[in-house]
């Protein structure tokens, strides 16, 4: 009896464990994660997304694979953990251009500092007295939606002479395209230059340029697109396959747009109203709609990035004395606010906001706004604490 019973108990335990549907951890809610593909990708597109995902998040460069000799990070995922904002550990330092519409002085090591080096090599140093700016890595989700917009759509918000008198101008950063630039119907060149839309100064025209530059300047990895090693300033054999770069670009194009949380919460709705009332939304344009795209999942989609992709004067407090493209040293591209509330999940548990991570909270980031945003900032500081909290709750819901 006891023997049969022990057999039975043993088998029942086994069956219970084998049939349990929660053997593996429950997936976090979709709106709590930044990574994941845009809905509607075909099977072939999902395969390419997967290849890009592996290259972006799993591929680690060592000196054997082409890392360095000078570098900032060893993988894409080191700077953008979970596809979110980065941490001061991988903050980039850009230098070499102090005036708009000039070329960076490559002879002094620009445009980016490789502050680390593989063993046996010394990292780069910025020459004494040269201004520089620090960029904390941005989130990379939803970039495909921004890339799908036309230049004409971006230009509709340009008001360089502030003709509407709201104190907000907004200008595009016109960038000289790199030799490998692939112009598409959505671009409108002006004197051979194209509107930049990615990066803190909007210095990258498209995601190919952003990706190639990151491989080269962040990891010291050369490609057929950018064959010059930033350490030696000499041409070397490609250290990453073209297909890998294409896969990463596709991955970035098809990462989903961040999904807001608690949209119907009273505090969130109140904060959203205040956001519009104090004119945050004049630069942080909430809603856009994509035109037709070669990726059907990105075609004619309305999305909510909270950016105008234009440069704005942010005042002397944020003037680092260095720049890129046609931007003035005090001008910064309006950063998208989507995914803002999830930033601590990728920044080690706390906020590192503004272009260099100097703001440790959303409130601090708002207060650091100057220049064209001075009026909105002043309106924010005049709000009651309750209204401030509502606005921050709204921003955290994005």
């Amino acid at each position: 009896m006891s023997k049969k019973l022990s057999y039975l108990i043993f088998l029942l335990i086994l069956m219970k464990i084998m049939s349990c549907e929660e053997i593996i951890p429950v997936a976090p809610a979709e709106n709590e994660l930044l990574d994941g593909p845009t809905e509607g990708l075909s099977h072939a597109e999902q395969r390419q997304f997967l290849n890009g995902d592996i290259a972006f998040n799993d591929e680690v460069f060592s000196s054997v694979d082409g890392l360095g000799p000078g570098f900032v990070a060893t993988s894409c995922g080191s700077c953008h953990p979970g596809d979110g904002k980065g941490h001061p550990f991988t903050t980039l330092t850009r230098f070499g251009q102090t005036l708009p519409n000039t070329l960076p002085e490559l002879s002094i090591g620009g445009p980016q500092l490789q502050n680390r080096a593989i063993p046996g090599f010394e990292p780069e140093k910025i020459p004494d007295g040269v201004p520089f700016m620090k960029f904390t890595p941005p989130a990379v989700t939803g970039l495909g939606f921004l890339a799908a917009l036309t230049d004409q759509q971006i230009l509709q918000y340009v008001d360089s002479l502030d003709e509407d008198g709201d104190g907000i101008s907004g200008v595009p950063n016109y960038i000289t395209p790199p030799p490998y630039f692939e112009q598409k119907w959505l671009h409108q060149p002006v004197n051979g230059k194209i509107i930049g839309r990615f990066g803190k100064k909007a210095a990258a025209i498209d995601l190919l340029q952003q990706t190639v530059s990151a491989y080269n300047q962040d990891m010291g990895v050369t490609s057929t697109f950018e064959p010059v090693d930033p350490f030696s300033q000499l041409t070397t054999d490609p250290e990453v396959f073209d297909q890998t770069i294409r896969d990463v670009v596709f991955y970035l194009r098809t990462l989903k747009a961040p999904i807001p949380r608690n949209e119907d919460d009273i505090q969130v709705l109140k904060g959203k109203r205040i956001f519009n009332e104090i004119q945050c939304s004049s630069c942080h344009i909430p809603e856009w709609t994509t035109p037709d795209s070669d990726i059907s999942a990105l075609s004619n989609k309305t999305f909510y990035p909270y950016t105008d992709l234009l440069l704005h004067d942010m005042g002397p407090g944020l003037d680092d004395g260095a720049t890129e493209g046609s931007a003035e040293t005090y001008e910064w591209r309006t950063p998208p606010l989507w995914g803002l509330g999830l930033s601590p999940n990728s920044q080690g548990g706390s906020f590192f906001l503004m272009h260099d991570g100097r703001a440790r909270s959303i409130k601090q980031a708002i207060v650091l706004h100057g220049g064209e945003a001075e009026s909105s900032r002043n309106q924010f500081t005049s709000l009651s604490e309750t209204d401030k909290e509502a606005l921050i709750t709204f921003l955290e819901s994005l």
């Binding site: 023997k3 022990s6 057999y7 043993f10 335990i13 086994l14 464990i17 084998m18 053997i23 593996i24 951890p25 429950v26 997936a27 976090p28 591929e59 680690v60 060592s62 000196s63 054997v64 694979d65 570098f71 990070a73 060893t74 993988s75 080191s78 953990p81 979970g82 941490h87 001061p88 550990f89 903050t91 680390r116 080096a117 593989i118 063993p119 046996g120 090599f121 010394e122 990292p123 999940n345 990728s346 920044q347 080690g348 548990g349």
Partner: protein, 410 residues
């Protein structure tokens, strides 16, 4: 070519086994495991069940592991997976009363990798002075020398022992060992000079300081990567009633700082300290085994903190026999419940940029049940629960799932 040679050796072993099988099976003699409690962990190499033919001075043995797993991370799983992580063959020979040889050849992942884990000649001059030379297992911690699958109640090997410390970690070299017994007490020591690590420990695709990366360098069985010997030493003390404690150290220069007379880098050291123990609580017969290690690596300050210069971690296994005796038709069967708790901090330190703690940690709790129809065979069912943070200490990935496996000496 080396792999081919190993395969030939393995085939020869199989043939000898097969030949033996064709002779009168009464000539086959199973050499039992020595179960006396005076044995130390360092005796694990020889304290295995062997099969001997007649009075031939050669004995053979081995073990196999096979398992199934269904593991998922944050709601995503790769589904059901079966594998044979390793099959190992032992060949031992008594050349003389005081000279013996043992080899251990391991076939991993279905033969994808074939490795000589141990192949050493032992010459005994005195119980306290034995010379060992060949491919030896560096005695760091306890698991590296005592890693046979059938001895453990868990499908996976301990993370701290196999991914922080590089078990199984073998190298070519020489050394001395000895033991001293006095009534309830046993003392043992080991000291070896071997080839060692290389630059890969901080130059690898794992994106962290990773000692096992040097295992990919098969040339270490032919020459040192830098001409600097790796020292590994251990002392262990055992009391029959209390249990055993071991203290071990492994260290040396790991990087190729010079080649062809050219200075390529500074000399950079690796130092590893470990403490291990095992005991059986009287009356209730609860068996406890564990080890903890600290790894210190000289990582250039100008390299990335992604690769930490300090690591620490360990594990403890608690095994409680709950049923003994005749079970499922086996006369000396045992049914155990067990628990493993393990932890590794891959990068113990703070970020220079923020002075905040660096993450890159893993915790695991593994409840288990195991059934041993004989002491040499184990059927085990584990439920693995792990949490792993990234370098920045972001919310941890949650990983869990079931593992089922069998492992047996043969």
């Amino acid at each position: 070519m080396r792999n081919f040679s190993l395969v030939l050796i393995a085939i020869a072993c199989f043939i000898s086994l097969k030949t033996s099988a064709q002779i009168d099976s009464t000539l086959l003699k199973r050499v039992p495991v020595d179960t006396s409690r005076n044995l130390l962990n360092m005796d694990a190499v020889y304290n295995r069940p062997f099969l001997q033919v007649g009075k031939l001075p050669v004995s053979v043995g081995g073990y196999i592991e096979a398992d199934y797993s269904y593991i998922g991370e944050d709601g995503i799983t790769d589904g059901h997976s079966f594998r044979v992580p390793r099959m190992t063959l032992f060949v031992a020979s008594s050349i003389h009363r005081k000279i013996k040889f043992l080899s251990e050849i391991e076939f991993e992942e279905g033969g994808e990798e074939v490795a000589i884990e141990f192949a050493a000649l032992d010459i005994s001059m005195h119980p306290l002075l034995n010379l060992r030379g060949g491919i030896v297992m560096n005695p760091i911690g306890a698991f590296n020398q005592n890693h046979d699958g059938p001895k453990w109640e868990f499908v996976d090997r301990p993370i701290a022992a196999t991914e922080m410390l590089p078990a199984t970690w073998s190298n070519v070299g020489f050394g001395l060992y000895g033991k001293y017994f006095s009534k309830e007490w046993a003392f043992g020591y080991e000291a070896y000079l071997t080839n060692g690590f290389d630059d890969a420990i901080i130059n690898n695709g794992e994106n962290r300081t990773f000692l096992p990366a040097s295992k990919d360098n098969k040339e270490r069985f032919e020459e040192s990567s830098n001409g600097e010997p790796l020292f590994t030493g251990k002392v262990a003390l055992r009391n029959k009633k209390i249990g055993e404690i071991g203290l071990s150290y492994m260290g040396g220069i790991y990087n190729t700082y010079e080649e062809d007379g050219l200075i390529l880098d500074e000399k950079r050291r690796l130092d590893v300290f470990a403490v291990d123990f095992n005991t059986t609580i009287p009356i209730i017969k609860t068996f406890l085994v564990g080890e903890w290690a600290w790894v210190n690596v000289d990582v250039p300050a100008t390299f990335t903190q992604q690769f930490g210069n300090k690591q620490k971690g360990g594990f403890i296994d608690i095994v409680q026999p709950v049923l003994n005796g005749k079970l499922f038709g086996f006369n000396k069967a045992t049914f155990n419940v067990a628990m493993r708790i393990e932890y590794v901090d891959w990068n113990d330190g703070t970020f220079r940029e923020t002075d905040e703690s660096i993450g890159d940690e893993i915790w695991a709790v593994v409840p288990a049940i195991s059934f041993r129809p004989t002491a040499q065979t184990v059927i085990r069912l584990n439920y693995r629960m792990m949490k792993q943070t990234d370098l920045l200490g972001n919310p941890p990935a949650k990983i869990s799932g079931i593992q089922f496996g069998v492992s047996s000496y043969f």
